[in-house]
Each structure stands twice: as structure tokens, then as C-alpha cells.
Symmetry: C2
Subunit: 404 residues, 2 copies
Amino acid sequence: MTNVAADGVPAVLLALAVILVAAKLMGELAERVRQPAVLGELLAGILLGPSLLGFLDPASSWLHLFGEIGVVILLFQIGLETDLKRLLSVGGVAVTVAIVGVAVPFALGYAVCRMMGLPDLESVVAGAALTATSVGITARVLSDLGRLHDVESQVVLGAAVIDDVIGLVILAVVSRAVTGGAVTAGSVALTTAAAFGFVIAAVLVGRVAVPPLFRLLARIGRPESLATMGLAIGLLTAVLAHAAGSALIVGAFAAGLAFQPTAHAETIARGVTRLGHFFVPIFFVSVGAAVDVRTLGDPRALTIGGLLIAVAIAGKVVAGFAPVWFRGRKLVVGVGMIPRGEVGLIFAQTGLAAGVLDGGLFASVTAMVMVTTFVAPPVLKALLAAGPGRPRDAGGAAELVTEA
Amino acid sequence: MTNVAADGVPAVLLALAVILVAAKLMGELAERVRQPAVLGELLAGILLGPSLLGFLDPASSWLHLFGEIGVVILLFQIGLETDLKRLLSVGGVAVTVAIVGVAVPFALGYAVCRMMGLPDLESVVAGAALTATSVGITARVLSDLGRLHDVESQVVLGAAVIDDVIGLVILAVVSRAVTGGAVTAGSVALTTAAAFGFVIAAVLVGRVAVPPLFRLLARIGRPESLATMGLAIGLLTAVLAHAAGSALIVGAFAAGLAFQPTAHAETIARGVTRLGHFFVPIFFVSVGAAVDVRTLGDPRALTIGGLLIAVAIAGKVVAGFAPVWFRGRKLVVGVGMIPRGEVGLIFAQTGLAAGVLDGGLFASVTAMVMVTTFVAPPVLKALLAAGPGRPRDAGGAAELVTEA
């Protein structure tokens, strides 16, 4: 119809096929060596990305779009599996982990950069890139390991969503500071209120409006229509969250939470899972592709990067131990908060685009993102295998060998 | 990661949600009035498109991409359900229908345009736009009606795939003529051979290579991995077909045909169907959105359009009756070949972009596409309901009222 993408469609289909095969193969390989599949998908991204094979351009807009759809679907799925009551029961713990987990890495990261002689604004941006956990990566690891319903997982999930919202507020503030805009206490408070207010409003409205809406839909439509309608509402909520100053994935998670107690949650989850098999790996491959391993070659970037990695890990582990009254395994919570993934990259990208970060500091931040993202899944897996709880990893491995 | 589509992602998610809801509602509505769901999806496209609500821009590259993925998945699904032996058993009939169904509309369309005083090249392009059936629309209608395995459906499917390949050859030749290139008998023969050769090669290679490949995959992977791998191979075959000078959808259909006899066809089909629930309606909505109903306001465009509609319908009905030895219902075959859908629009678009078609003739061709696309589904439904065969439409209606 249009000639804009006429030549592009076959190229995109080819890239999609390669992404699907690479993600699947590397994911199965990761599971063979008893690691979460997501690690393999991230590695597939590095492999296909510009630093190795150069097959995928992480800056191409279709890849970005498909990846975003993937992470929105993933968080919608996670929300559909999350019991709000259980989440709220660890609410105090999660809020504490989130706040400490933002404040400590930010302060330490800023201090490290200043210590290394970097200017003030640059240090603020680098510190900000350390704040937010990638909720997508953490949730996927817990889901891969079958531990999404553990109490520690609930804390990590709650805290990661909260610090994602805090991270967006920081990003908004930093972006304004970077572009020379005025940052007032009032504007920060307003952004914060909008971001958190949306989640609360979405869940409240959802709890009231969703059951009657779905009773109506169930009367007029088929099961697959329900799944499609559920997905459409999830997408709309994500867009509304974005419009309210919160994040797409926060809206998708809130929509999932609102659906979870309804009788149709399982129908929706089934339909969305299949779509997830297609879109979610694209997200992780795109995150992997955005990581440039060549940055590991620059000594100065490596030094600052090493320091950032140390405070990035230490800061989140400290956050895990912050709620001293929490009776779960604090180290699991801390490690679960470590991966920075795409959120850290977005900060670095914003700083680079605004000219605040130079190539060297950008490389350091990228190295931090890479290491935190790749270190957390195997450590989390080892911790969960060593500790008490359902031995789901053995089951997972068995699942892999049997075949229908 | 990239800023290219950073602002665009929420807008696309919103559009996707609206498309899914509109397609679902209009599709169910169509079924309520005992029409194929695809008719409702096409109407949803017109409704959302520039001529009415103006919500969807049919020229946006993401919509084009998602629609193409949709039609590729649809033809892959249809291939997965198509028995090659049964298809070949009506091969002679299908080839006859295809050739007559290309030649007669082309000749009549050219004659009509010349009669109305249009120049030679313009008449050729308009005639060419009448040649190819939209295999997507026809296959979807037959599938909606549960009649995909009728002998008439096999003929229509075979003939539609063949005339799609012929249509592409004509498009290549016309594009060359339009841009002033030399058209030799040799180049036409080469294009034709490449286009048809690919389908034959793909099915042959697929029959030999697919079963051992899938036995291997089944040993190492999970069922959902098989579905993903199957889809990836389908996408790759589509891309190869395109590279060989054939069409994406022809490659996808050939891949489905190659998988169909394997033990894993059902696993793949199940996985792909869910993905289809998402992507396929986007294709039909995008086709609908590309149709501009405002063109119906211009009297001269309407006159030529009316003549083109008459020869477009008559030409395909004649083609249905061409294989005189065929013992199936020839009118069903002829009517099944009527919808021109996106294929006709691509011709018109190519002519318009090259400056060969003026706005008036473009509008006439668009009117032809619109009427043939919208008239065929209800007529086909009425014919199939009136004739002998499994009374699946009654079952379809019952399915609609009951609900899980």
C-alpha cells in the first residue's frame, strides 16, 4: 500500500526469523547449563548486535517498537499472575527496598564520579542511571525459575515497579536539568504524584469496572475475543499510564493486577502467553543488542565502569537488607534488584543525546548495565537453588528433556 | 533505546488497541448478520481510515509492516491446513481458472479504458489491476465459513495462489514499462520461471528437509519451541520467495504446505493461530483503511469504476466456468475469485506513484477493489449456504451464541 516500508518488510521478516531462532537456541542452551532462558536471549542480542555479528541495528525503530510491545506484554502477564493482596502485604518492605535501592546507588554513583574528577551534572546523570532496576529482566528470571510467587519475589516485584516509577521521575527531572530547565520542588512533587497516582487509580478503577465489563463481553463474545479485549485494555492502560507521566510497563502491570482476580484472567493469560512467545524474546534480544561489548576495551571507561558496577551491586544488596523487620531472605531480594537492563541504558542514552555524557562515561554506564544484567540471573538462580522452597528448577530441567 | 520511535510507541500501542477492539466488534457484528467476520474487519478499516474517522493513516510504515506480517501468517496457516495432494488433484482446473481469470479481466479492463478514451499505458495498468485475486481475503472467507476443505475451495485457493504469482510477474513487467524500461520476452519468461520455480522448489525441499529437521528439534526442544521454529522457517521461506521474485505470501503458503504432512503441523498451527488472532485482523483493517470511500463522489470515476467493476466480476465468473470438465460448483469458484483486495490496490498505487494513473483513474480502480472485495464474501456465503455440503454455517452461528 505504502512505499515507505515496501523494501523494508522482507528485511524485517528476515530479522524476526533470525531473532526468534537465535533467542530460542540460546535460551535452550542457557537452560542446559542450568541458567534462566532470559540470559541466553540477552546473549543472543549481543551476538546479533553491532559489537559482534552486526546483524541487528538496536537503533532501528521497528526493533524498538517490537521490543516495547514485548516488555508491555511481559508486564501485563506478570500482573495477571500477581495477587494484589499478597503484593500489598509486603508493601512496606517493598517501599523501603525501593527507596533505599534508589538513594544509595544514586549517592554512591555520584560520589564515585566526583571522586574520579567528573563534573557535577555528568555525575548526577551517571548516578541516576544506577537507580532503577529493570523489572522486566527480574520478573522474567523469577518466572523462568518458577519462583514468581515466593515472598521474596513479591518484594522484588513490588520494589522494582516502585523504583521504575521513581526512576521515571528522576529521568524527567534529570532531562529537565540537562536541557537547562528549572527544577522546582513543586514540579518534582507533581511528576511523582502523577506517576504513583496513576497506578493506584488504575488498579482501583480496574477492580470496579473490569468484572461487569467482562461479564458483558462474555455474554456477547467468544473466549478468544475475551483474550483480545483483555489485551486491548492492557495496551490502553499502558498508553494511559504513559500519558499520565508514568511508564507503559507500569500501566500494563496495573492492568494485569486489575484483571487477576476475575474469572477470565486465565483465558486472557493463555491468549497473551502465545503472543508473548513471539514478542517477549524480541525485547530481551533488543536489550542485548543495545549493549556494546567493545566498550570493555577502554581502560578509563573500565576503571569508572568497575567502580560503578561495585556501587550498583552494593547499593541494591544494601537495599535488600534495609527492611530489617522482613523475615524473608534479604540477599535474594537484594540480588533480585541488581539488573539495570534497558532502564539504565535509557538513562545513559538520554545523557549522551543531550551531550552531558561523553563517550567514555557512556561506555562505563553501559558496562555497568551489562554486568549487573548478566550477573544477577545466575546468582539469583544459585541462591534460590541453595535455599529452601519448592525445588522447581529440577522440574524445569526435566521439562526440557521430555517432549510432546 | 533509540529516540526515532520513542514518542511513537504509545501512539502505535493505542492504534493497535483500537484496531483490535474495532476488528473484533465489527467482526462479531458481521457474524450476527450471518456474514463472514472478515467483512466486519474490512469495514472497521474503512471506519478508522482517512475517509471516515481519520484515526488510521494507511500510509504509516508500522501499519504496513504489521499488516504484511498478518497476511504472511494467514497464508502460512492456510498452507498448514492444505493437503498438497488434494490441491494437485484439482491442479489442472486451478491452472485453467487462474489463466482465464487473469486474461479475461485484463483484456476487458484494457478494452473498457480504451473505449472511454484513456491512453494506452494507462489502460494497461488499469487492466493489470483487475488480474489478481486477493488470496488472503478469499482464504479467510472460506476459513470463516468452515469450507476450506471443499473441492471448490481447493480450486479457488490453488488458482488464487497461481494468479498471485502471475500478478507479480505482470506487476514487474508493468513497473518496467511504466518507468520506460525495455520489456523483452526473455525477461518476462525469466521472471515467470523464477516466481513459479520457487514454489515448486520450496515444496520439494520442504518435503525432504522438514521431517528430519523437526525430529531433531523435537528431541532438543519444547512444544512451544517447535511452534516458534516453525514460524521462523515460514518467515524465512517468505523472504526467500520474495528474493526469488515471487511473493512473501506465496513463500509462506509453500512453507505451510511443506509442514502440513508432518506430525508437528498441529503444534505449529496451534502456536501460529494465537499469533494470527493478533496480526491477521490488522491486515484486513489496513486493507480497509486504504480504501477511500470519498472516491465514490466523483461521477467520471464512478462511470469508469462501474465498468471496471462489471468486467472484474464478469471476468472471474467466466474463469470459474472455464474448466468445463470440472464437476464442482463453477459459480462458487468464480465468485471466490472476485475479491481483488490489497493486490489491486498495490497495482493502483504503483501506477499512481509512477505518474501513469491520474487521480480519477486511481479512484475508479479503488472503487473496483472496494466493490469486489465487499461483494464477494456475502455472495459466497449465500451460495455456500444454499448449496449442498456440510451445513457448517449453522454450526458457526451456534458457536457464536454459546460461550465458554
